[in-house]
Every structure is written in C-alpha cells, then in structure tokens.
Symmetry: C2
Subunit: 581 residues, 2 copies
C-alpha cells in the first residue's frame, strides 16, 4: 500500500471525551471516528487491524473444525420469546418494530438463531458434534457507553455455538475451543491469561475468560505464579483457614468513635490494624406473591473483615440469597439495629436476622465492630462469648494477593485484565427452552448439549493498545498491526535515488509477502515519524539521500529507543528474521 | 475443504413460499435458510459464494483507488434529519429508539455518514478526489419481501461514495467506477449490461445500472444490437417520428362499442389494428397551501397509442407534473368527461384540462378513441379538425422493440435484467444539504461534488442463479462458485486405492490453489452427484475402483451432458486449463 492511495488522518490532541489511553490513541491515530455515543466509524487504518484479527480468528476456528455461516443482525422476536430473553433482558437488548408492527431485536448474540438452525438441520447424533460460528455486527445498548471500542454499543463479535450429543462430548468441544482460543491469542501476540470464571445459574466449572493483561483493565485476575491456577476474582475461592480460632484475650469494651463510620477510620482512631475490624453489610430478600407484590422480607447481615471486599457473585450463591437480593432500606436497618449505618454490628440485635460471616470473620477473635449506637464501636468482640455463632459461615469475599492458592500450590497474585474472549459450557439451557433435539442411537429425541464461544473482535483493538503503548503512541504486535513495515523516504520528490530505492524496497518487501506501506505523502521527516510512532507500525525504515550515498538505511523497531544504521544488504534479512518470514 | 468438516444440507423440494428459481435453488442447495420474512441465514455453502463476490469487489475497488472503511449499521437520526431523509423516506427506512428514547435508523445506505466523515476529514482540495467504500449489512423494510435474496430486507451491499472538487473531476471519478464495475462484473463471469438509467430529481446523464441478463429479470433493458446504446426502459427515449403526420382520410364517426372498455377490445370489435387506437389516462396534480391542504387541483389527460405503455418516469418529467401526480378520482373524471373510464377521449371535453399527447399519438391520423359516452368510441379522429392540437407533445411512453435507437445507429431490442449494481452522479445534493465543504485553491469553501456506487452483494447470488441454472440445479461461474472442483470418490470407505487417489488429487489441486472439495461423506453415487449438480460446482471428478484399475477418472463440467473418461495424467492439465491456472 502507498500512503497516497490510502487514508491517513492523525490528530495532535485526543477529544475531551476520550478517557482511557486506547480510546485516545485510536482517535488520534485515525483508527476510529465517533458517530454517536458508543458508535464508531472504523476508519481505513482501524479496519486493517480488524481484518487481521478476523483472519486469525477465522483460520483457527476453521482449523478447529468450526463452520462459518452468517446470521442476521435483525432477528425476529419470536425466537427470543421462546427462551424468555425478549422479555427478560434489560434495555441493553435493542428492540425494534417493523412496518407491520412486528417485534424484532438487534442481535447482541445469536444463541437463539443458532439453536433454531440446529433443531432444523441437526436431526441425528450422526451429525454431531457441530460448531457454527459467525463474525458479525452486534449491538448492546449500554447505559453508559465509554472507553471507545472497549464499551461501545455497536461492535463486531465472533460468536460460535457447539452442539453435542452428551456432556462428555460437549466437554471435548469445550476443550477444543479452549485450545483454539489459546492459539488465536498466541497468534495475536498479546500477553493474556485464560482464567476460570463464574458460570452463574448454569453451574458446572466450564467457563473461562480470555483476559488481555493490562494495568488499566477493569477485571481483577487471580493467579498463582507457582502453578497453573488462574481465575476471575468473582470465582477465585478464599480457602477456609486451617488453624483453630484463637481464644478470647480481651474483654468486650464499648469504645467511643465519634464520627468514625468506616473500618479504616475506626482502626486509625483506636490504633488497631484494619484486619482486626469487621464490616457489617445489611442486605434484604423479598418474597413475592403471584402478582409480584412483596409479601415478606428477610434482612441479612453479612460480615467481612475490614480490609476485605464483599464478592457479590459469591454472596449470590449463599443459600437464601440466590434468588436476588438488595441492600436493606434505612427503615429496615433501624428496625433491626436501632442505629444508622456506619456503627452497625452483630452484637445485641433488636430483631433476629440471618447472620452470614465470611470464613475469615468466623475465625477472628478480639475483633472490632459497630456497637449499634451512633459514635460507638465494640472492641474485644468474641464469637460464642459476646454473640452467638453466625448462622452461616461461607466464602463471600474477594481473595487478596497472598491468600493461599485454591489448588494448594502456592499463594495468589492479582493482576488487571481486559476480557476479550469467553468460552462457556451452556448445557441444555437453550436447547431445552427451544425444545431443540436430535435423535440418539436408540431413536429417542434428546436435547443438544451446547457451548458458546465469543471473541470481541473490535474490543481486541482497545485491549491491545491498553497493553501496548508508550508516550509516543500505539505499539502493535506485528500480527495485528495495520502495516508490518513502513518505509519513510526523505525528500522522495527531490531525489531520484531515494525514490528508486524506496520503490525497490517496497517491491521487494511486497514480494516477500510483507504488509508494507510506502509513505509517499511528502511530509516532513518529523511529522512523518510522529505519525508512524502514533499509529504504531512495528518496523520503520528511513531512506535518505545522504544515507544511500553511504549505502545505508536507518531501521528502527517501534520498541527501540534509537534508530540503527544498516547496510541496505543487511536490511532485508533483518526484517525477514524479525517478521518470521 | 473436506465435506466431513463442512456443512452440506440439500433438500429434495423447495419450500412452498419460494416463487422464483433462484430462491428455490438457494433453499434446496442449503445456501440460505429463512429466519423471517426477507431475513435469511447465510449457511456455510452460501457464505462461500458471498466471500468470493466480496473479494472480487474489494480487489477491484482497491485497484481503482477507493479506500475501504466500515460504517455502522445503527446510525443516529440527526444526520438523516439534515438531509430530510429521516422524515422523508417511507417505512422502508427502519427507525429505532435507544434506551434513552433517541432516534436511530438501521442503515439502508450511508450517504449521510460518509458525507459527515468527508466534511470533517477532507478540508482541502489537495485531499481530493477521495472515494470511501464499505461492505456492510443493510436493511430495507420492504412492504412485501420476496424472491429470497432478490428482494430481502436484510442484505449485504458494497456502497462507495466519491468526493470531488468539481463536476469535471467528479466525472472522472464516475468513469473510474464505471470501469471498475465492468472489471468486477467481467470477473464474476456473468452476462450483464451497463445501461443508462434515469437520474430522477438530480438530473444530468450520469447514472448507469449494471444489469445481469436473465429472462426472469424484473427490469426491461433496452439496447441496440448494432451499437453501444443501452438504457433502462425508464430512460430510453422514443424519438420523434421523422415523417409528416398523414392527412385525414376518414370522417369522424361515433361507433357503438358496448362493453368494450379497453383499446384491445375496441380494436377487435371494429376490426382495426390496435396501433390505430389511443388510450386516455386521466391524472391530477394538487396545489397545497402552507398547512398541506389542497387549495386547487388540475386534471390532465395523457394520451398514448393503444399498443404502447405509459412511462411514469417520463410522465413525471412533463412540465407541471414533476411535483408529483396522482390518478384522477371518479368525480374529477365525471366533471371533465361526463363519462366513466373505458370510454374517455380528448374530443368534446366538458371542462378544459391539459392534454398531453405522446409523440406517436400527436403523429396519428384517423385514430380511434373514447367518445366520452358509455359504450361508444369515435373512429376517424383527426387533430386540428375534430379537436384542438394537444397542449403538449412529449415522449411519455415506453419504447418497444423495433423503435429506432436514440443514437441513430439502428433499431432497439429489449431483454430482461436484474439490477445488481448502480453508479450514480449525485452532484451536491448531499453535500449542500449537510453543508459539507472543502477549501478550494482560493481558500473559499465549496460543496463536494459527489457520486455513489452500489453493488448488491447478496443479490448477486440470486441474479447469478436466475442466469445460470437448469433442471438439475445451479450453474455457477467458476469465479464465484462455492467450490471450483468437487472430487467424488465412490466407495472411499471400502477401497484404499480410491481413498489414496482422492486424497492425492485433493492435495494436488490444493497445491495449485484450486478451491476443491473432497466429498468424503460416503454417500451413494446418485445422491452425491445430485447434490453437486444442485449446488452447481463447475467441475466434478469421479474416482472409482474400476476406473482407477484402468488408470482412468471421470470428469464432467457442470454444463456438459455427459461425463468424459480421462487418464489421471490428463486430468490436471485439463482442470488447470479450464480454471485458468
């Protein structure tokens, strides 16, 4: 490609609404252009990256035996009513009526449509397993679209759906996709982790997120540096403590803590470690009648250590809380504690409620908690002596770095990640809802065992940039860079020697199958270099009249601080080696 | 590709709702699967064709200097309000609200978005000309979707938009696209014509449709076999007659024509040629006030020869009718003619109205028309003698085969076509509406001169099949066939020799870059052959134990009636020659 036949549009400054570095750099490098909230034009430079990402995904999906098709963006509501998602999904599902008033949706995923295809096309166990995928435009009407392509509304996703005869075979399909995803992410050239993730209502242990590592990532990834263990923080278990609970050593004392409504403030005031305090979180669950009216509510007190965080996914699995919970109202809190939040605790409750202690809290002795009295906390609180043992002792907190690894092979570390892929075992959730069956060996209809496998194609761009950038701009891995090599001739319009050398090098690199751009715009060297550092092309070659007279060119890798002078004869072998040609 | 890793699903019978042959064959060959009215899944077999069509388009668009980007499917209404299309377009424009109640549309085309990009990105004449294109999902909410992909609601289109500094340069962009389209359609291997088309309100002569020739086509294409002339029937001009109008030879006579309300019936009754009769069509135009209320109506009488058809596009260009016309009401007809339709004519009108005669009619003598009296017609009618000369004499009819060619190079012929591409000079219609300007050499802002260029990607599939099929199924041109060659081994599971030969041939063809499918499904020969004839793969090779013992294979081109026995050594050169490798 020559720059004169392409479209390059860089900006010195990012627009004010760009909050994260990937959004800023994509806007500045002319990869995307905002059309509306969370809706972007993919400009020529950005589209090149998308196409490379898609090509890698397509090759590896095909290699893994998946079959590509194309399902529509606008889908009839009927199928989504069969699974209950038309009514059940929130406003992120964009609904639309056609000219006859019939309901449709703009697809956020395609479970329903693929299952509909399967129930019509896959009639016998002999046709299984089968894995259908497509790479298609999706829409999710995010409440607050932001971060550019990271949380946009319209985006491109690869979604695949596997159909198997039984759970065992579905497990093999799952493993096959897991392996394909590893190949895909390896080929992208990104640092990533495949982490175990929560399976929600479906249960089982077959759900993995593919997280691109980046300090700016929204997700916390838990892993064990001395073993294979890796999980989403939502899932990672905080193991029970092995040692016995210590015996009480302190009396129960009510300490004045005027205006200190947080564990941190109380600990500071009392000169105690934060790990000696206990945080009280008051939740409520509602029992409803057939009309959806609340007939009875139950208040719950959840206790986690002052330096720990409640894990809402784990809380949602506590028996009794699984049906959905809310934070308690001030009236409910007053009725049970006779006090306002900030000073609450499990000692001396007015009305009975369910006390759920995190495993760590249940193990504490001589701890500090609210005294259910404004401006006061208890110290020296001990289970059994000052209050009854908790109703339930469970894991309801996020793990922290240094916690023992659930696989017993070391201690946990935490890093940040950006979820760009997900493999998920669905079981018969959709096939049962849509009565999608095949005939097994005995001629009996059986629901398909399904899995779904997504990769956020456009999101990969944002994640790659969050991982790879510096103060000058983007640093793409070569496999998904818009171009692998850029040739920057200086004074091409004035020097025949430069022009000839540039054209010849361009032809040679093209001949080798290298994706090369010749910058024939005639920009000043400084502006030209700044553009390509911003855009993030991995390899740059500069040709100048003076250099050529000495038989030399300048080469600089995007991660190198300095350019290196090379004999023209050394350049091609060097580039070939670096690009693996 | 091996069949076992692919998805093949053929049907013996087409579904009842499939009306046209391409729809039937696409359904039977498993290329598409209906999801809703006018909404289809593109199954793996169909998607392969789409990808080949897209690749050819992409290569030639890039070769012509156009730059690919990707514009969103869901577009904010604001831009469409700037051009008036949000309110102005009918219900075929699908409108949708987001969760905040803001208006969006599902794109049918992207003039607004591209013009918005241009007005932000193209600031100087130095950046021009520029041509942006994308290949993207489109939606048109057709009132009556039908004919499969030929008139679907969701479809894939390539749409390109050029931006130029002046009309002359825009003309070059137009010619460049016209040439690129010829290369694209040549490469598809389809018979087509580029025909001049009407430019509607924009005017000028720069609009061409690319029509795939097919007897089942909806469009009539007018062309001159002895010259380059080709036009859509909407546009093709019926030239003025050169000879003088003949002098009257008959007296005006009122003939009883009881129950004969059509020209054909009247001519038959009177024993006269249909070409002696004149058809009366009564139209009306309305003048409206600022509130949109009709304040005044004008009735028009349009006259075409009995064997001719009114051309509504031409009628819309008659001075006074351009603002929009309707057919007159019965009350209006009664007020002006004192008679009901079927017996109307221009002689002896009750109230004055505008009489518009087609050029052919104005040239007639001794003609037949309604007598404005039920069950009666006049014969021997002559202009000037029996009624005043018409107010206007214009071309308002469709040309017919045998009419002189407008280029004076012969006579016209007519064939049927399917419109799959359109190049159109837009002028400043969109750039003026959206105030999209660049700075010219003198630093003054100027509106872009634009062109738009569409190709219906998915429609190509239907058009190719309408053109290429027989009683056994589809006949694809090799360039866009789902596979170029299919290898059908007979008894592959029983014979090692067949299996080895099949695998070896498969590897050899792949090595040559041939898109080959090895049918390893183990189907019976009859079913296997029927599938591939239905699917329409251009070249078939059959391997059998008996043939191989004699060193022979069977080859059959899809258009051949019989298979030919070839030595294995002759096969590859033969296939290479046929596929141009």
């Amino acid at each position: 490609m020559k720059a004169s036949q392409f479209f390059i549009s860089t900006l010195k400054e990012a627009p004010a609404d760009a909050e994260v570095v990937s959004h800023k750099l994509m806007m500045r490098a002319g990869m995307i252009k905002r059309l509306g909230a969370g809706i972007y034009n993919y400009m020529p430079m950005g589209l090149r990256v998308i196409r490379k990402v898609e090509a890698i995904i397509r090759e590896e999906m095909n290699r893994a035996g998946a079959v590509e098709l194309l399902m529509p963006v606008i889908q009839p509501a009927e199928l989504w009513q069969e699974t209950g998602r038309f009514e059940g999904m929130g406003p992120e599902l964009m609904r639309v009526k056609d000219r006859h008033g019939r309901d449709f949706i703009v697809q956020p995923t395609s479970e329903e449509v693929t299952t509909d295809i399967a129930r019509q096309e896959l009639r016998s166990y002999k046709q299984l397993p089968k894995n259908f995928y497509h790479i298609q435009t999706k829409f999710r009407d995010e409440r607050r679209p932001r971060f550019g392509v990271m949380r946009g509304r319209e985006f491109t996703m690869k979604d695949a759906y596997s159909f198997d005869r039984d759970a065992e075979s579905a497990g093999r399909s799952y493993e096959g996709m897991y392996a394909a995803y590893k190949r895909i992410f390896d080929r992208f050239g990104l640092q990533y982790r495949a982490v175990a993730a929560d399976t929600g209502a479906i249960g089982g242990d077959r759900s993995h997120e593919f997280q691109v590592i980046a300090d700016t990532g929204e997700d916390a990834i838990v892993y064990c540096p001395t073993s294979d263990y890796a999980a989403n923080i939502e899932l990672a278990e905080a193991l029970p403590l092995l040692a016995q609970r210590a015996a009480p050593t302190q009396p129960l004392v009510k300490a004045p803590t005027p205006g200190k409504a947080t564990c941190a403030d109380v600990a500071a005031l009392l000169g105690l470690p934060l790990a000696q305090t206990v945080k009280s979180l008051v939740l409520a669950t509602d029992e409803k009648n057939e009309h959806g009216e609340v007939v009875k509510s139950q208040v719950w007190l959840l206790l986690v250590r002052g330096d720990h965080e409640l894990n809402e996914v784990k809380a949602g699995k506590v028996p009794g809380l699984g049906g959905g919970f809310r934070f308690a109202t001030l009236a409910e809190i007053d009725a049970h504690f006779g006090c306002k939040p900030g000073y609450l605790g499990p000692v001396g409750l007015r009305q009975p409620l369910k006390v759920v202690a995190d495993r760590t809290v249940a193990h504490m002795a001589d701890f500090v908690c609210g005294a259910n009295e404004v401006d006061a906390h208890y110290t020296g609180v001990n289970w059994g002596r000052d209050l009854p043992e908790p109703d339930l002792v469970v894991d309801i907190r996020n793990v922290v770095a240094g916690d023992p690894s659930p696989d017993g092979q070391g201690v946990l570390a935490i890093q940040r990640g950006i979820e760009v892929g997900h493999v998920f075992y669905l079981g018969t959730k959709y096939s049962a809802a849509m009565n999608a069956t095949f005939l097994d060996e005995t001629g009996k209809p059986k629901h398909f065992e399904m899995g779904c496998y997504g990769i956020g194609v456009t999101r990969i761009l944002g994640a790659a940039i969050e991982q790879g950038h510096d103060e000058r701009g983007i640093i793409w891995p070569a496999a998904i860079a818009p171009f692998e090599v850029v040739i920057c001739p200086i004074g091409m319009d004035r020097s025949e020697a430069v022009k000839d050398a540039a054209e010849q090098l361009y032809a040679q690199l093209k001949e080798l199958g290298v994706d090369v751009l010749l910058d024939d715009r005639g920009e000043r060297p400084g502006a030209m270099f700044a553009d390509w550092e911003l855009i993030g092309v991995p390899e740059r070659v500069v040709l100048s009249d003076r250099g050529l007279k000495e038989g030399q060119v300048e080469w600089q890798g995007r991660r190198e601080a300095q350019a290196t002078k090379l004999a023209l004869s050394e350049l091609l072998p060097q580039l070939k080696a670096r690009l693996g040609r």
